[in-house]
C-alpha cells in the first residue's frame, strides 16, 4: 500500500508542478491570444448584455404582476388600477452580467496520463474563464474532486491572477465525487449562471445525479470530458497488476489483445452514455483528449458550443 500511496502522491505532485509551471506570463499571453480569437468568433456581441429572466429595475417593460405588500409603490401602474381597480406593479427586464462557474476535476484519476488530464483540464478551464472575464462577465474557477469551497465569481481579466493564487493554495487529489461537488455547489446558492464541468467522469458514483442537481437549480450546465491517450488506448500486454488510483483497488490480470478490444468497446459505450445523457437534456457536451492542443479545443468549443453567446 505504501507503494501505491507514494505513487499517487508522486503523480499528484507532478500534476501540481505542471499546473503551477503553466501559470506564467506566457500562459496568460496565450489566453489573451485565445480571447482575441474568441472575439473574432463571437464578433458583434455587446459586452455584458445578457438578458436574464430575472425581473428587476431595468428600463425595458417586461410584464405586470399583482401587487404584494412590500413592493415599491413607484412601480405600481396607476393607469391599470384606474381601469381594473386592482393594483399591479410594472416589471422591467433586468440587465445583469451572467456568472460562469468553471469546475475542473482535480481528483487522483486526473493526475494520470501524459500529459496529465489535470493540467489539460486546468488549461481549458483557465482559457474559458479568461475569455468570460475579458467579456466583462463574472467568472470563477473551482477545482474539485468532491465537496468543495466556492470561489466567488469576479469580474475583469485581473481576476485571473487571484484565481491562480487560489488554485495554487488549494489541495489537489481525492476521489471523484461529482454528486458531492454539485451538492456543495448548490447549497452555497451562488447566482444562477453557467456551470462548466471539466472532468474525466471516471467515477464509480456516476455523473447523472450531479448534472441533474445543477439543472434542477436552474444552472446552465456544459460538460467537457477529458481523457488521456493512456485511458483511451492502453499500451499494455501480458501479466499486469492493475491499480485504481482513486479506489486503491488492485487486480492481477493477463491483458491480451482481445481484452484490450473489450476495454475499448466498454470505454466507448461509457463515453456515448454521457453523450446521450447530455443530448437528452440539451446539455452541451464536449470531448477532448489531454494531448489535444488548447487552441484547437477552444476554437472547437467557441465554434460548435456557442456557450459564449
Amino acid at each position: 500500500m505504501a507503494k501505491t500511496d507514494s505513487y499517487v502522491k508522486g503523480s499528484l505532485k507532478r500534476a501540481k508542478t505542471e499546473i503551477e509551471a503553466s501559470m506564467g506570463d506566457s500562459f496568460l499571453s496565450e489566453l489573451e491570444r485565445l480571447f482575441l480569437i474568441s472575439r473574432q468568433v463571437v464578433s458583434g456581441k455587446i459586452r455584458a448584455e445578457r438578458k436574464t429572466r430575472k425581473r428587476g429595475t431595468g428600463i425595458e417593460f417586461a410584464e405586470h404582476r399583482e401587487y404584494v405588500p412590500g413592493d415599491d409603490f413607484r412601480s405600481i401602474d396607476w393607469n391599470l388600477y384606474g381601469r381594473l381597480e386592482k393594483l399591479f406593479v410594472r416589471l422591467y427586464e433586468e440587465e445583469e452580467d451572467l456568472p460562469v462557474y468553471t469546475m475542473f476535476d482535480v481528483s487522483n484519476s486526473m493526475a494520470e496520463g501524459t500529459p496529465s488530464k489535470m493540467l489539460h483540464a486546468f488549461q481549458v478551464a483557465s482559457a474559458l474563464t479568461y475569455v468570460v472575464l475579458a467579456h466583462l462577465d463574472r467568472a470563477t474557477m473551482i477545482p474539485f474532486s468532491g465537496p468543495m469551497e466556492l470561489n466567488p465569481p469576479g469580474r475583469g481579466k485581473g481576476r485571473m491572477l487571484k484565481l491562480f493564487h487560489i488554485i495554487r493554495q488549494s489541495e489537489l487529489g481525492g476521489i471523484t465525487d461529482l454528486a458531492g461537488a454539485s451538492r456543495s455547489f448548490v447549497y452555497r446558492r451562488p447566482r444562477r449562471g453557467t456551470v462548466i464541468i471539466i472532468s474525466d467522469f471516471l467515477s464509480t458514483n456516476g455523473y447523472e445525479e450531479a448534472i441533474n442537481l445543477l439543472r434542477y437549480h436552474k444552472y446552465r450546465v456544459i460538460i467537457v470530458q477529458t481523457l488521456s491517450p493512456q485511458d483511451m488506448k492502453p499500451q499494455v500486454k501480458g501479466d499486469v497488476e492493475l491499480y485504481d488510483v482513486e479506489t486503491a483497488q488492485m487486480k492481477s490480470v493477463t491483458i491480451t489483445a482481445g481484452l484490450l478490444k473489450k476495454y475499448q468497446t466498454e470505454l466507448n459505450s461509457f463515453i456515448k452514455g454521457i453523450q446521450s445523457f447530455c443530448q437528452d437534456r440539451s446539455i452541451p457536451f464536449f470531448f477532448s483528449s489531454s494531448d489535444e492542443k488548447l487552441e484547437d479545443i477552444m476554437l472547437g468549443l467557441f465554434r460548435r458550443g456557442g456557450f459564449l453567446k
Binding site: G113, S228, D231, Y243, D244, V245, T247, K251, T256, F270
Partner: protein
C-alpha cells in the same frame, strides 16, 4: 548419441548458465507489472467476461518457461553437433579413384570466363571431399589411367592429402578401369564398408564385371569378376558444362613400300566424336617441316581412314588435325599423332660361305652392299669390313668363327654347335611343322616351311629362357630355328640345318625369310611400329644411358632391355653420350578417350550413386521410407492441441505447450528421416518452436 561439437560437460555448463538466466527471468516475470489506471470499474466490467483463471495463468506461465527451457536445450544440443554413436565411432575408409586419363585434359568446364579442364574440376571436387571428411576418416588417393598409381597411403591428415593432390596431373593415356578395380579389390581386401569414390568423366573404356552388394544377377556375364562386395561405390561425376565436338587422330601407321623403299605410306584414321559435321584439315609435318595437307569433311560420329604416300626422307613425322570452320576443340592431346619414320634399309652384309647361288641371289635382292668370303679367308681378312664400311650383318653358312664377332646382327646357317648348344642331333628326313603359330616373330612373317624337306644331319638347339624359337619340327620343342639376344644387344639368328641338305633355298619362302631377317636386323621390317600407343608397355633393347621424355625430363637407364610405359604423347629419345641412338614415337590413339561425351560411370548394370561431399546435401531418401502418415498425424495433433490452447484453464495451457512440443519434434523427426545431419534437424526444430512461440505469444496462447 555422442557430441562431436562442444563436449557434453561444457554443454551442461552452457545449459546451466542460460537455463539459470531463463529461470531468473521467469521469476522476474512472476512479479507482475504495476499499471495504474483511472477507470478500474471499466476494467472490472471487461474482466468479468474475459479473464482467465489464476491456475490457468500460472500454468501458462510455467509452460511458457518450460518451452523456453526446451528451446534452450535444442540450441545447446545443436551446438554439440550430436551424431549417432554408430555413425561417428566408425572410422571410414574413403578410396578416391581420380581419373587422370587423356579425356580429363578436355577444357570444357566453364568457370567464370574461361574453361578449366575436367581434371582441374575433378581435383576441386576431391578437395571438397577431403575438407568434408571427418578428422579420423582415412583416405587414399589413387590415380587411374593406363596405370593405377596409389598416390598416398591410408591418410587421415587433410594437409598431406591436399598437398598430394596439388602435384597430380593428367597424362595422355587411356583408362584401364578393369586394372584399377583389380587394384582396388586388392587394396580393400582387409577392409570393410569403405567408400569407393570414382572421380571421372565416364570415359573409362571397358567396364569389368564387379560383385557389389547391390548386384543384379540378371546382368551377370561369364568371366572373372572383381569382388567389391561390402563396400559402397559412388561416382563423383566430372560433367562438362558444355558439349563440344572433338576431332582426333585415332590411328597412325607408316611403312616403306617393299618395292620402293624410298617411298613410305601413311595410314591415318580421323574421328569426329561430336554430333555436328566438321570441316577439318590434316597436316603432315616431317622433322618439323610441312609436307602434306588434306581437307577432310567429317560427319557426326564419323571416322575416316586416309592413305597418304610421302617420300621417306626424314626421321620424325607429325600428323596434325584441326577444324577449319572455327569450331572449338576442347581436347588437344588427340589432335597430334607422332611417328618415327622407318629407316631406309641399308644393309652391309658379309657372307662367309662357299658359293651358294640361291643364298647369294636372295641377298642380292636387297639394297646395299653384300660381300662374300670363303670360310678359310674369314680369319685372314678383316672380319667385319664390307668394302670401306663396317658390316652390319654377318651371315655364316656351314661355318662358325672361333671367336664370336662384335657385329650386332649375325645369322648362322647350320652352326652345328657353338655359339649355340645343341640338344639333339638328328639324322633323318624331317619337316618343319611350326613357325610361330598365329603370331609369328617378324622374321617368320609370311614364311611357310610346310613344304620344306630336310635330310642329312640337323641340329636341334637348346633354348634358353630369353631365346625366341623361330621354327620347330614338333610340338615337343625340337627347335631348328632360334633367335638369341645377348646382353650386349648382339642378335644371333640360327637355323640348325644346312641349305645343302634341304630344299629350303629353293622355296619362295627363303628370300622372304632372308628379307624379313635383314629388315628386322636393321629395324626396317614391315612390322615396324611407327608409333606406339600411349599407356601400353614398350620393350626395347638399346645401348643407351638415358631417355629424354617429350616433356623434357630425362630418365637414366642402363643399357640393354628397356621396358617402360609411356604416359605422354611425343618422341622419346634414347641417348648415349649426348647423342640420340634411337627414337620412339608415342601417340594417344584411343577412340574411347577421344569420345569426350560425358557418360555416367557405371559398374556392370549398376548405375552408381552420386557421392555428396557436403553433409548439408542429404542423401537421397526414397519417398517410401519417409513415414508420411506418422508425420501428418503428429502435425495434425500438434495443430489441434495449439488451437485447444484457447480453451480456458489448465487444459488449454497444457494443450498449447504439448502442441508446440509435438510439432517441434515432428520437424526434427522429418529432417532426421530425410537424411539431414542431426544439427540441421535440431536447428529446424528450433525455428519451428520460435515460429510457433511467436504466433502463440501474439495470440496469448502460451503466455
Amino acid at each position: 548419441m555422442i557430441f562431436t561439437g562442444i563436449s557434453f560437460s561444457f554443454l551442461l555448463k552452457i545449459f546451466g548458465i542460460f537455463g539459470g538466466m531463463i529461470g531468473l527471468l521467469y521469476l522476474l516475470k512472476l512479479r507482475e507489472r504495476f499499471i495504474p489506471v483511472s477507470a478500474h470499474f471499466l476494467w472490472e466490467r471487461v474482466l468479468k467476461s474475459g479473464q482467465r483463471s489464476l491456475l490457468s495463468r500460472i500454468l501458462r506461465r510455467f509452460f511458457s518457461f518450460l518451452l523456453q527451457l526446451f528451446l534452450l536445450s535444442l540450441v545447446v544440443l545443436t551446438m554439440g553437433n550430436p551424431k549417432e554413436k554408430e555413425a561417428t565411432i566408425r572410422v571410414k575408409s574413403i578410396l578416391v579413384l581420380l581419373d587422370t586419363s587423356a579425356s580429363m585434359k578436355a577444357l570444357d568446364i566453364k568457370k567464370g570466363d574461361e574453361y578449366i579442364s575436367r581434371f582441374e574440376y575433378g581435383v576441386e571436387k576431391v578437395k571438397k571431399i577431403i575438407n568434408s571428411k571427418k578428422e579420423k576418416d582415412e583416405m587414399m588417393i589413387v590415380t587411374f589411367s593406363s596405370q593405377t598409381v596409389p598416390r598416398t597411403p591410408w591418410e587421415s591428415n587433410q594437409l598431406n592429402l591436399l598437398g598430394t593432390l596439388e602435384k597430380l596431373a593428367p597424362n595422355d593415356t587411356p583408362s584401364n578401369f578393369e586394372g584399377t578395380l583389380h587394384f582396388v579389390s586388392q587394396i580393400l581386401h582387409n577392409r570393410k564398408n569403405s567408400d569407393i569414390l570414382i572421380v571421372s568423366d565416364g570415359a573409362v573404356g571397358k567396364i569389368p564385371q564387379v560383385i557389389t552388394d547391390k548386384e543384379n544377377t540378371k546382368c551377370l556375364k561369364v568371366g572373372e569378376k572383381i569382388d567389391l562386395s561390402g563396400h559402397n561405390i559412388y561416382t563423383v561425376p566430372v560433367r562438362p558444362t558444355e558439349v563440344f565436338s572433338n576431332i582426333a587422330i585415332t590411328s597412325l601407321a607408316a611403312r616403306p613400300l617393299v618395292t620402293d623403299p624410298d617411298t613410305g605410306e601413311l595410314l591415318v584414321t580421323i574421328l569426329n566424336s561430336g554430333q555436328k559435321e566438321l570441316k577439318t584439315r590434316l597436316d603432315i609435318y616431317v622433322d618439323g617441316n610441312w609436307r602434306e595437307s588434306r581437307n577432310i569433311l567429317l560427319g557426326p560420329s564419323e571416322e575416316k581412314v586416309r592413305l597418304i604416300r610421302i617420300p621417306l626422307v626424314g626421321k620424325n613425322l607429325e600428323a596434325r588435325i584441326k577444324s577449319i570452320d572455327g569450331g572449338y576443340d576442347p581436347l588437344d592431346s588427340d589432335n597430334t599423332a607422332y611417328a618415327v619414320l622407318p629407316l631406309r634399309p641399308d644393309p652391309k652384309i658379309l657372307l662367309v660361305s662357299r658359293e651358294n647361288l640361291f643364298l647369294e641371289a636372295a641377298l642380292l635382292l636387297l639394297p646395299g652392299i653384300m660381300e662374300r668370303v670363303n670360310p678359310e679367308e674369314y680369319n685372314t681378312k678383316s672380319p667385319d669390313n664390307c668394302g670401306n664400311e663396317k658390316c652390319n650383318i654377318l651371315i655364316f653358312n656351314d661355318f662358325v668363327p672361333d671367336k664370336l664377332p662384335d657385329t650386332k646382327n649375325q645369322y648362322y646357317i647350320n652352326p652345328a654347335g657353338k655359339p649355340f648348344d645343341v640338344s639333339r642331333t638328328l639324322n633323318e628326313n624331317l619337316m618343319i611343322m611350326w613357325t610361330g603359330g598365329k603370331t609369328p616373330h617378324p622374321i617368320m612373317k609370311s614364311v611357310s616351311m610346310k613344304d620344306v624337306n630336310l635330310w642329312g644331319y640337323s641340329s636341334a638347339f637348346k633354348v634358353n629362357s630369353t631365346d625366341v624359337s623361330l621354327m620347330q619340327i614338333d610340338a615337343r620343342g625340337t627347335v631348328l630355328g632360334i633367335l638369341r639376344t645377348l646382353k650386349d644387344g648382339r642378335r644371333l639368328v640360327a637355323t640348325g640345318f644346312s641349305l645343302k641338305d634341304s630344299d629350303f633355298s629353293l622355296q619362295v619362302s627363303f628370300p622372304v625369310f632372308i628379307l624379313n631377317m635383314v629388315n628386322w636386323f636393321l629395324g626396317t621390317s614391315h612390322t615396324f611400329l611407327a608409333t606406339y600407343s600411349s599407356g601400353k608397355m614398350i620393350e626395347v633393347y638399346e645401348d643407351a644411358e638415358q631417355i629424354n621424355r617429350p616433356d623434357g625430363k630425362n630418365i637414366k637407364v642402363k643399357s640393354g632391355r628397356q621396358v617402360f610405359n609411356p604416359l605422354l604423347a611425343g618422341i622419346y629419345r634414347f641417348m648415349k653420350k649426348g647423342k640420340p641412338v634411337r627414337e620412339i614415337a608415342v601417340s594417344l590413339l584411343d577412340e574411347t578417350e577421344s569420345d569426350i561425351r560425358f557418360r555416367e560411370t557405371s559398374i556392370g548394370c549398376e548405375k552408381l550413386e552420386i557421392y555428396s561431399p557436403s553433409e548439408i546435401i542429404p542423401k537421397k531418401v526414397s519417398g517410401k521410407s519417409i513415414p508420411w502418415k506418422l508425420l501428418l498425424l503428429l502435425l495434425l495433433t500438434g495443430i489441434i492441441l495449439i488451437i485447444m490452447g484457447y480453451v480456458r484453464g489448465a487444459l488449454g495451457a497444457f494443450s498449447a505447450f504439448s502442441g508446440v512440443t509435438i510439432i517441434a519434434i515432428s520437424a526434427f523427426y522429418y529432417f532426421k528421416v530425410m537424411g539431414y545431419p542431426m544439427w540441421i534437424a535440431l536447428s529446424c526444430a528450433i525455428l519451428v518452436v520460435l515460429f510457433l512461440e511467436w504466433i502463440t505469444y501474439n495470440r496469448r496462447i502460451t503466455v
